[in-house]
Symmetry: C2
Subunit: 265 residues, 2 copies
């Protein structure tokens, strides 16, 4: 059994003014989807969820019901049973949290650690511009992909990219005590308007990023059964004195990494 | 495995202005204690917890650390491992939620249903004035008591009293499809300044309330091993056309029940 908790805050993770600038169903859907993405990165299958909601006076029962409908529709899709909850009043803000349980065979559990020098760095999907495109509300959590990768033993260190590929890649480096040479030009971008820098820093992509032993890379690419989901090697892990993400030449990347992902603020 | 989630909101469940009107450690302690009380009412033993916190700009890392210290100190006391968490920024409010896991043998699981006509209605501890006395921050969750009651088979329907004894007793009645004759003068009060009406409605008592078959009542009172914790029968469940709480004479209680517990608002 694996456990994760994630929150969604009005004005941070979705636009909340004017009322229903983001439909309540999409807010609920996003809360669960964020948690499913966490479970996906562990190679686990989601099972149960509990929801806590704190709402200000300008959100009524109708808003709450539509919020819950958004959670429950996605829960059905992913086979998750919502088994508990709590509702509270807050003075101003809308804050909801969801705790999710998942199941994974012990040997298949994926963590951020485990990437080794020489492993290729793979990503699913595309990056950047998640807010502008609405992707941050409509993304499909990579649960099937994560479980498949874990079951078939392809993964050396995995994370779901919520805070920007650069920062989340750095988290794999820190957990694995390795460096990463990354080719920004190979990172798939969500649209033509997205720059290489934005693809690395925008965040809210909810794609999987993971290391793969080079001997397994060709087999992985041939066996990958998710036709609609791009899979691409965009870098290589290296032995490094300290965890860092550089260009392919080992030099600093030619733009600044924003310090974490700031959501709407 | 049982699961529960509960929240704590600044300005609702604790005084948050001026900053640290309620010490951060006590806020954290209360959040976990509320969840432990839920677990206690199921007759379960708490095992794991996950915490999600959303904080506004006027709460700094020091506040967060002290909040977590308050959680962790009580977690150690009750053998709970805090295994996950999430931190987010909120525009104005302080909202935290904690999801708790507990373990209980299937046959010992207690719920609100199960009270039968003729069962005596027991409570632990004392009631009323929880905010004025600080009890709402310092209460000791009745985990050992709840697990003992469940293991020894004394319980027909149990709840933890968070929203006032009257309302929570009514919840047992609804779940069990029974009525309850309650003697307000027998309900232990936290202090002399607390009226009978306040003892039934104030809330935040975090005591246990439960039905006990009359044949077991004397044995229960003799065997009760918690010397510092009062145990008292304060009423009797009845066959009733609809769930209701009355006086011992079956007439309405001589004061109004406030509709749920309003916390600070």
């Amino acid at each position: 059994v694996v456990l994760a908790v994630d929150q969604i805050v009005g004005g941070r993770h979705y636009v909340d003014e004017p009322l229903d600038a983001t439909p309540a169903e999409q807010v609920g859907r996003k809360l669960l989807a964020r948690n499913l993405s966490d479970i996906a990165a562990m190679g686990a299958r989601p099972s149960f969820g509990l929801v806590a909601v704190a709402l200000p006076p300008n959100r009524d029962v109708d808003w709450l019901n539509r919020f819950l409908d958004g959670i429950l529709a996605l829960a059905r899709e992913f086979g998750v049973a919502i088994v508990g909850g709590d509702l509270a009043a807050a003075p101003h803000d809308q804050v909801a949290s969801l705790t999710i349980l998942g199941e994974v065979t012990r040997g298949n559990l994926c963590r951020r650690q485990g990437a080794q020098p020489g492993d290729l760095f793979y990503v699913t999907g595309a990056f950047g511009g998640a807010f502008e495109s609405g992707h941050h509300l409509t993304f499909q959590p990579r649960c099937a992909e994560g479980a498949w990768l874990a079951q078939n033993g392809y993964v050396h260190g995995m994370i779901d990219v919520s805070d920007g590929l650069w920062l989340d890649a750095l988290r794999i480096c820190r957990a694995s005590a390795v460096g990463l040479r990354l080719d920004p030009d190979r990172v798939p971008r969500r649209s033509r308007g997205v720059s290489a820098a934005e693809a690395l820093s925008d965040g809210e992509d909810y794609e999987l990023a993971f290391g793969v032993p080079p001997a397994l890379a060709q087999e992985l690419e041939h066996a990958w059964p998710f036709a609609g989901v791009p899979l691409k090697a965009v870098g290589e892990f290296t032995a490094a004195e300290r965890p860092e993400v550089t260009g392919m030449d080992g030099e600093p990347l030619p733009f600044d990494r924003r310090p974490g992902f700031d959501h709407l603020a």
